[in-house]
Amino acid sequence: MAKENKRKLWLRALVVLLIFVFFGVFSTGYGLINTIFVNGEKYSRLAEQQQLQDIVTKAKRGNIYDKNMNVLATSATVWQIFVAPANMKDEVKDSVAENLANLLNQKKCTKEKVLEKLNKSTNYETIGQPVEQDTANKIREYISKEKLGSVIGLTETNERYYPNGNLASTVLGFVGTDNQGLGGVEAQYDNTLTGTAGRVIAAKTPAGAELPFSYEKVIDAKEGDSVVLTIDEYIQSVVEKYLQENVEQNRVNNRAACIVMDVNSGEILAMATKPDFDPNDPLEITLKSRVKKEIKKKKESNGGTITDKEKAEIESAVMQEQWRNKAVSDIYEPGSVFKIVTASAALEEKTLSDSDTFDCPGYIKIADRTYKCAHREGHGHQSLSQAFMNSCNPAFITIGQRLGAANFMKYRKSFGLEDKTGVDLPGESISSTHNTTGLMTNVELASESFGQTLKITPIQLITAISAAVNGGYLYQPHVVKQVQDADGNVKQTVSSTLVRQVISNDTSKAICHYLEGVVSEGTGKNAYVPGYRIGGKTGTAEKTDIGTKEGEAKKYICSFCGIAPADNPQIAILMLIDEPGVDSPYGGTLVAPSVGKMFEEILPYLGVSANYTDSEAKDLAASTPSVVGESVDKAKKEIEKKGLIYTVIGGGKTVTAQSPSGSSVIPSGGKVVLYTDTTAKKKKAKVPDFKGLTVSEANERAVEAGLNMYINGNTSDSTAYAQSIEVGKKVEVGTVITVSFREIVTVE
C-alpha cells in the first residue's frame, strides 16, 4: 500500500468513525433523554395506569345517635347481585331466573322480571335490591354449585339504614346512591360521617399473563365518625305522634312543624315536620294528594292534558318539598307569638311597666291605618297581664309605639331575628324583607309589634323565646352535641354557644309570669297540664301575602309556643300548622292542645315533678289493681283502697275476669267490673258520642254507658273534641275510653 494511499484511507476511516460516533451518541442520547427525562413522568404514569388496577373501597359511614346513644341512622354491608346476560347461555337462563328470584325473595323481583333482564344482550345488569349476608351467602353457594361464576356476581356496598323509619327524617336527611349525605345532618356532617375511602391497588396484566408475584397494596378504608345528636328519641317520638295527629285532625294543607328546645343551652331536643318521609326510601312521595292537586291544576291550564315531563317535574318539586325541614327552611309571619319579643323589649327598656293599663275599643289607629282587635267589641280596660291573656292587638301596638322604632329594631336584631341562627342544619332560611336600613315608620312598627308583616323561621323564633324566658341568654341552637370515632371515643364535644344576653333576669322572670297567665287563664288554656306550671303564647296569622282568590277561604298559620315549668323554664315547644283546613283556625284551639299533650308526656320524662291542686287531685287518675284469681271479697277491698268502685257480675266466689284489666289508668271514682263466673256473658256497652260535651256531661254519659272515661287536655270551660274509641262500637263494660277536651279560643 502506498503510504499516501494509506493515509487517505486512515483519514476516511477516521471520518466515518467520528461521524458515526457523533451521530450515534447524539441521536440515541436525544432519544433516551427525551423519553426518560422529558416525557418520563407522563409515560410512567400512563404505564402505572394500565398496569395497576385501583379499586376504591368505600368507608363505612358513621352512625347517627340520639342523645342517649340510640341509633337513628347506621350503615350495613349489603351485596348487590349482578349478571352478565351477554355471556350467559340461553338454555340456563330460565333456571337461573327462577333460582335467583327464589333466593332473593323480593316482592318486586319476580322470575319474569329477572328473565327480562337475562334476555338482554348487555354485560352488566343488577338484579333486585341489595341483599344481606345470609342471602348473599346462599347466592354464592348457588353460583359455585352451578359454576356460574363468570356470569353472576356480587358487589359489596354499604346501605344506609334508618331503624325508626320516618322518625326525625327532616333532621337526619338521607343519603344518595353513593352514600353522600343529602339534606339534614347527613349533609351538614357529610365529611365527618363519610370517613376516608380505602384503596386496593393490584397489579393488572393483559389477559393470559401470569404474574410471578401477586402485587397488592391495601390501604384500609377509615370508617366515618359518628355524630351524637341533642335530639332525644323519646321526645322526638312524642312530638311526631301529636304533630301527625294534629295534621290529620285539622287537615293541614301546607305541613306542620314543631321544635322542642332546651332553653338553657340551645340544644334541640326534637324537631319535626309533618308530613315527612322515610329516609330508607326518600323517593317515595308522601304528599300524594299534593301531586294529584298539582297535576289537576296543570291539566286545567293545559286544557286537559299533561306530558310525562310535566308530571315528573311536579313529582320532583313535591319530593323537594317533603324533604324540606320546615322548622328551619320556611319563613312565616309568627303572629301573636311574637308579642313575647315586643313585650320583652319594652319591659327591658322600661317603656312598659307591670302596672301599665290599656284600653281597647276594638281597634287602634296608627297614622292613616286602623288596626282591628281580634275581639271586635274590644277588651275594654286591661292590665298588662290581661292584655297578654287576651292577646290584645291594640295593647301590643301601643306597647310597640311607646317602645319606638329604634328600640324595637335594636331588640329585633339582638334577639337574633335578623340573622341566621347558625343552627348546624342545612338550608336555614332568612327573610330578606326586614327593613334594616332606615328607621321603621310607625305603621311598620305597629304591624311588627304583634307579629305581622315580619317573617322569620320557627328556629329563629324559638331561639328568641328561649332567651326571653331563660333569664335573657340567647344561645345558638344546635342538633349535634358530640362527634365520636368508630370505636366510640369522643373526638369533639359541642358545648352551648352563648351569643349574648338580650334582656335582664328580672324582665325574663316577668315574661314567664305573663306567659303562665296565658295558659292558666288566657288564650292558651288548652295547653294546660294538671300539676305543671306551663306558660305560653298563641298565634294566628292570616297569610296575607299569598292572596286568596275570590270565594276561597282565607289561609292561616296557627301556632303555639309553650314553656315549662313557668317558674324555672327548662324546655320550650314551638308548634305551627300551615293552612289548617277546619273552622276556627286559631292557635289556641288547634295547636295549644297538641302542645299540652306533648308537655304531659315530656315533662315527667324529664323528671319534672307534678304538683296538683286539690281539685286536680280529685280528678287524678288511679291505677286499677289486678284481682283476677283473688276471692271476690279481697278484690272488693283492693278496689276500694284505690278509691274506685266496683260491680260484681256472676255468683262465683273468685274473680275470673275484670274490666278494665289490671294496671289500667282510670279517673278516681271509676268503676271496675268483676266477673266471677266464666259462663257469665260479658256485658257489652255501646260507645256514645262525646263530641261537644263538657267534662261533666261527658262523665255522666260515660257512667250511663258503663264505661270509664279518662280525661285528656284542658278541663275548664272545655268541650270534648276527640275520643279514643269510635262512636257506636261495642266494647266491654268498664273499658277505659280517653276523651280529649279543649276550650274554643277565638280571641288572639
Binding site: M1, K8, W10, F20, S27, G31, Y43, S44
Partner: protein, 385 residues
C-alpha cells in the same frame, strides 16, 4: 516469480494452513463481545420470561435456545478467529452465489403470520437471508475494493460497485424490508467511501439522493400521510393497534427513569409490550436498568465500534481493514437504529439489537463475524492488551 505465479502459489495455499496460529487476538475486543453477549443473554432472559411462559409454556423457552446458540456461536467465533481472514477471499464467490440464491429464493416462500418474505426455513434453522446479505456485501465489496484498488479512481468501476450495492438493496427491498435495505446501503456506502470513492461522486449521489427523496415526497411515493409516518408522529392516534407497540415501548422506557426498576422488575414485559424478546428488548432494558444502564450498554457498543476501527486501521492489508470496518460498523449502526426505533425517534422498522434480540441464527452469524474481526486483530499491529 511473476505476479501471476505469485497468485497461483497463493491460490494453492492449503485450506488447513489458514488455521495456523499467527498471533494473539485483541483481548479488549474479545471481552467487549463477550460482555455484550452475556448482558444480552441476561436481559433476554428477563425480558422474554413472561412472554415465553404465556405463549410457549415455559419461561425458559427463549433463553435456553438462545443460550445454546450463544455457546455454539462462541465455538464458531473462536474457530473463525483462528481462521486467517484471507480464507474469505477464496470463499467470496461461493458466498455471493449462495446469498443470491437465498435472497431470490426467499421471495418465493409463503409469507408467515403477517410477515413479509423475509425468513427462510431450512430444516433446523430459520433465518433472514438479508442478514447473510449484509455479510455477503461486506465481504464482496472488501474483496473487490482491495483487489482493484487502483481502479477505485475509475468512475466506471465505482459505478459498477454502486450497482453491486444496488443489486443487494434491490433484492432486500423486494422483501419489503426497508430497514435492512437502508442498513445494507449505508454499509456499502461506508465501505466505498473508506475504500477511496471519489468525493465528487459521493457529493453527486448525495444531491441525487436528496432530490430523489424530495421528488418521491412530492409525487406522493413516500407519503407523510402513510401509516408509518402518521403513527410515528403520534402513536396515540391508535392506542389499540398501530401505535400500540410504540406506546408500550415508550411507557417501558419512561417508567425506567434514571436508575431503572432493577433487573427483572419490568412491568411492561408482562404482555404489555408485544414480543419483548425481539426488536423491542431494549425497552425492557431501559425499564429495568434505567438511563444509566441503557447508556452503559450504548457505551459498550461504542467501545466495540471504536476498538473495531482501531483493529481495522492497524490491519495488515486493505481487505482486512475494510472487512473489520464493515463488520463493526454494521453492528454499531444496527444498535443505534434500534435504540432510535424503541424511543420512537425514527419510525418503527424491523431492526433487532445485536447480542440482545432473540434469534439463534443471527446470533451465531454475528459471533462468527466478530470472530473474523478477532482474526484480523491477530495480524494487525495493535498493541495487545
Amino acid at each position: 516469480m511473476t505476479e501471476k505465479a505469485k497468485t497461483k502459489v497463493k491460490n494453492k495455499r492449503s485450506w488447513l494452513s489458514y488455521f495456523k496460529k499467527t498471533g494473539n487476538f485483541d483481548l479488549t475486543f474479545f471481552f467487549l463481545v463477550t460482555g455484550l453477549t452475556v448482558v444480552g443473554l441476561i436481559m433476554l432472559f428477563s425480558a422474554s420470561a413472561p412472554y415465553a411462559a404465556s405463549h410457549r409454556g415455559s419461561s425458559y423457552y427463549f433463553i435456553l435456545r438462545q443460550l445454546g446458540f450463544a455457546v455454539f456461536g462462541f465455538v464458531l467465533m473462536m474457530l473463525a478467529s483462528r481462521a486467517d481472514y484471507h480464507i474469505w477471499q477464496r470463499l467470496v464467490g461461493l458466498v455471493f452465489i449462495l446469498t443470491m440464491v437465498m435472497l431470490i429464493g426467499v421471495l418465493f416462500t409463503t409469507a408467515q403470520k403477517g410477515q413479509f418474505h423475509r425468513w427462510l426455513d431450512i430444516g433446523l434453522i430459520r433465518f433472514q437471508p438479508s442478514e447473510i446479505g449484509k455479510f455477503s456485501l461486506i465481504l464482496l465489496l472488501s474483496y473487490l475494493i482491495a483487489k482493484n484498488q487502483k481502479r477505485m479512481t475509475d468512475f466506471k468501476y465505482q459505478m459498477f460497485l454502486l450497482m453491486v450495492i444496488g443489486l443487494f438493496c434491490g433484492l432486500v427491498l423486494a422483501e419489503n424490508h426497508l430497514s435492512a435495505t437502508v442498513l445494507i446501503f449505508l454499509i456499502g456506502l461506508v465501505l466505498m467511501f473508506v475504500g477511496g470513492m471519489s468525493l465528487k461522486l459521493l457529493g453527486g449521489m448525495g444531491i441525487l439522493g436528496i432530490s430523489g427523496f424530495l421528488m418521491a415526497v412530492f409525487t406522493g411515493l413516500i407519503s407523510y400521510a402513510s401509516d408509518r409516518i402518521k403513527y410515528w408522529q403520534n402513536p396515540w392516534l391508535d392506542t389499540k393497534d398501530k401505535g400500540f407497540q410504540t406506546i408500550q415501548s415508550l411507557l417501558a422506557i419512561g417508567s425506567g427513569g434514571l436508575m431503572g426498576r432493577g433487573i427483572g422488575q419490568s412491568n411492561q414485559k408482562y404482555l404489555w409490550l408485544p414480543e419483548p424478546q425481539n426488536d423491542f428488548i431494549f425497552s425492557v432494558v431501559c425499564e429495568e436498568l434505567g438511563f444509566i444502564g441503557a447508556a452503559l450498554i450504548i457505551v459498550g457498543f461504542g467501545l466495540l465500534v471504536w476498538r473495531g476501527f482501531v483493529i481495522a486501521l492497524k490491519a495488515p492489508d486493505k481487505f482486512g481493514m475494510l472487512m473489520a470496518i464493515g463488520l463493526v460498523f454494521q453492528v454499531g449502526l444496527q444498535a443505534v437504529l434500534n435504540v432510535l426505533v424503541v424511543t420512537n425517534t425514527i419510525p418503527n422498522t424491523g431492526i433487532s439489537l445485536p447480542f440482545f434480540s432473540y434469534g439463534g441464527t443471527s446470533l451465531v452469524m454475528l459471533l462468527v463475524q466478530m470472530g473474523i474481526v478477532l482474526n484480523i486483530s491477530r495480524s494487525s499491529k495493535v498493541e495487545k492488551v
